[in-house]
Structure formats: C-alpha cells, structure tokens
Homo-oligomer: 264 residues x 2
C-alpha cells in the first residue's frame, strides 16, 4: 500500500463522512456534555468516528486509530501507522451555527506526520498535504508563507487567554493583542490551523489542545513553512493534551520569545 | 415609489456590487490606512461606495446617503430617506482573508429603519428584512429568537474588550466570558449581527461602532426579536460613533445589567 493510495482513500472517506454530517441536519441532533458542561458531544460526532473506524479497520487492519470520541485504539506509543481523527472539530459551532466546523485527520508513520487533512464540511473546502510535497486548498497549491511583522499580523486567540488563567501570564498576552493588527476567534483549532496555512491568520494559539485537534493541521502548516510547537518551543505532544502555537516563521519566534510566559 | 420596489432595487444593487468585489480579486488591491495604522481602506471599498452612490443619486435623487468612505452626503439629521452604507464591512478580513466581510445597508425613513441588508459577498448569503414583515436568510424566513441563558450562550466579543480599556470595566467582562458557554470574534460587525439574527451567536458587542456598521443589521435583528442598544440601553446613535450590544431578549438585559460597567 503506497502513501498515494492511502491519500486517495482518506480523501474519499472524508468526503463521504462530510456528506453524512450535512445530511444529519435533517434529523434531531442529540447533545451531551463530556468533561465539563461546555465540552459538548453529539450522536453525530460519535457516529462519524465509528464510521471512520469501521472502514479503516476493514481496509487497513494493521493501522491504529486515535479518535476524539474514544472508539479507536488505546494509543500509548506512536509506532506504526496511526490515524489521528477528530470527526467534528468545533462541535459547539456544529450545534449552534451549523457551520464553522471541520473534520480533522492526520496520518502518522512511526510518529512522523505524512498525510494531513482539514475538511470544512459546510463549505466543502478541503485543505490537505503530503509531507514533502506541498499543501493544497482544494486543487490549488498553497504558497509558502512569507514573513509578516507582528504589527501587520492577525492572531487567532480566544478571549479566555486574555483573561487571567492558570497557563500563561495574561499581562503579556494583553501586550501582544495591543501590538498586533487584530485578533479573531473561530472556535475550531483545525479551522484556525487551516486559516494560518492559507495566510488568512498569521498565528493561532491555545493553551489546551488534544492530538486530534492538531494532528492533521500541523502537517499542512509545515508544508507552507509555518512553525508549529507547544508553548515551550518543542514539538507538540501527540499522546496527550499540550499547549500550542502555530505561526509564520519569524512571527512564531517573536511571539514565543517576547509574549509567552508560562506559569508553573 | 413603494418600499417593495426600493427593496427589489436595493437587492439587485447589492448583488451587482458583490460581483464587482469578487471580480476585484483578479487585480491588485491598493491598501491605505485611515485614522490609525490598522483602520484599513482599499480602492475597492471606495469604488464600491461610489458605485452605490452614483446609482442611488441617479435613480432616487431625493434620497441621501451616509457612506463609510465619505463620498455620500453630510448627514446632520435623520429626516427623509437615508441609505446607510458600508460597502465592505470587515475590510481587514477582505484584505487578509478574501472572505468574512459583508456589504451592510440600512434604509431609514425619518430615522426609522425600514429595510436592512447584510450580504456575505463570498458565500453569496443575503440576510434581509423589511420592518414589520420578518427577516430572511436568502429565501428562508428566520425564526423568532428564543430565550437562552448566559451559561448556554456564545458571545461575539473581541479580545480587546477583555483587556483593560477606556470604555468599560474589563473585570466585569472577564466575569462575563467565564460565565458564558464560549466567545467568538469574526472581525465584521455586520457579519456578527447577521450571526445573532440567525441564532449562530447569542450576543455581540463592541465599544466603538459607526452608523454604517449597524444600520442594516439592527433592522434584521429587531425582526427576529433581538434587542439592539448602546451600552446605556438606549437606541444606538445613527449620527456618530457609539457603543453597541445586540442579543437575544433576556440575555440582553442580563449582560447589560450584570456585566457592563461604563467608565467616565
């Protein structure tokens, strides 16, 4: 099985899953909450994850799957081929807005990201990349990102990180948002990674993301020259939650060096 | 000239302007800044405003026009028929993202909003309303907004109002964003008004908006039962800048009473 044929298979699967999600709006969606009251999940998140898993297990029985809803494998190490899947990234948007959510998928071989996908389901926009072969927005090759100074940058950051929080010094974040051109917040890490990769945002950061939120997007971002790390400047962890920042080359260093002060 | 015929005329004009904007991406866009370095304007904002004005002046010579780019009339009072126009609301998104901006238009008769339009140019989505006759998302009637408690609400608010600022006590805003379900920021007041009107956001607020940012959206929002005021709870001023909040019925009162403390 070549990477190219896995790529074609994954794209086809994603499009089929997207269709299932769009059709789901004709029926009543059941909403539950998970860890906290605002950590939402629906029957559709679960059904779409199970759809992916049943297909992957049937067609690639040796591959493992790490899925947000927990129907996949118990992944303790990154050896072999692992599909890292968020069936609906931005579930709150899915419920409240019926738009602005994405299927996020990254396929890793021995811990190295090889194939990345972010599918904006309602716009039918697929961002995708193969390691070393560039990134695409649908059929259009995404250009390498150029350097942008902070004063011209739009940063994706949620208001909650501007308020006092247990992860970072928020006074420095206040300095950051005053210095940059503007801020936005879309409520889907995958969508914001796709926006950085396509130059619509210049940076995106969050203090608490899971592997499936970023696994696909990192591969796409790196193919256009964006830098993606945790807030210590290290490769983001793919076995548990971590902090996260992705940005254009020079901007990543500027933000991390001058505006991020981790607590504890 | 009936309101219905002005409505049909306005819709046609907006769609034509939208086409001009979409075509503009084939050419180089010239960018200038206005009051401050991040208050951007392009040749396209100016050309689209002039297109609207030339048509309106030709076909409705007795109507007046208040436009963001200043090519319209010098409006000191709200008597007669006034078109309040933002040719591109969300110019920063227009430049950086080539999406997430809108044409915003409100038509007022002796100070009363009669016809409102928000046109998401890239999605070809038109939100529109006629006073007393309901609001529409394209051809679909928008339902009346139901009551949502703050704990279930998504609030459109920019991170800059969570940082200390000269307009409001930001400590109370921090309480607000901790209490609500989540926050978003899209960078276009018109788009965020359209999102409140269609139930995708439950509230939207900003401390500094101009009449053309909100003139169209207020009319649409009121037709679905949203409440739109300045931060004092008064009708927003349409002759100059003002604070602004729009929200579902009970939520508007909750936020204004319990979380907004104006300075000075």
């Amino acid at each position: 099985m070549t990477l190219g044929s896995i790529d074609r298979y994954a794209k086809s699967l994603i499009k089929e899953a997207g269709h299932k999600i769009r059709v789901s709006f004709f029926n009543t969606i059941e909403i539950d909450s998970k860890a906290d009251a605002n950590d939402l999940v629906t029957n559709i998140d679960r059904e779409v994850e199970q759809f992916f898993i049943s297909r992957i297990k049937r067609d690639f029985p040796e591959h493992r799957i790490l899925g947000e809803e927990g129907f996949g494998d118990d992944i303790q190490a990154l050896d072999g081929i692992i599909w890292m899947l968020d069936p609906i990234d931005g579930t709150m948007n899915f419920i409240h807005q019926k738009r602005n959510f994405a299927i996020s998928l990254g396929i890793y071989v021995d811990g190295v990201g090889m194939l990345g996908y972010i599918y904006d389901v309602m716009l039918d926009d697929l961002y995708h990349a193969t390691k070393g072969e560039g990134a695409y927005f649908n059929d259009e090759r995404l250009p390498k990102l150029e350097i942008t100074p902070l004063t011209d940058a739009i940063i994706g950051i949620n208001a909650s990180w501007v308020a006092p929080n247990r992860y970072i010094n928020n006074e420095k974040i206040i300095e950051l948002i005053r210095r940059c051109r503007g801020t936005r917040s879309y409520g889907s890490a995958a969508m914001e990674l796709a926006y950085v990769s396509s130059g619509r945002l210049d940076a995106y950061m969050s203090m608490r993301l899971s592997p499936w939120d970023i696994a696909g997007g990192i591969i796409i971002a790196q193919e256009v020259g964006a830098v993606a790390t945790n807030m210590k400047g290290e490769t983001p962890g793919l076995l548990g939650q971590d902090t996260f920042i992705v940005a254009r080359p020079g901007l990543h260093k500027d933000i991390l060096t001058n505006y991020i002060r981790l607590k504890g």
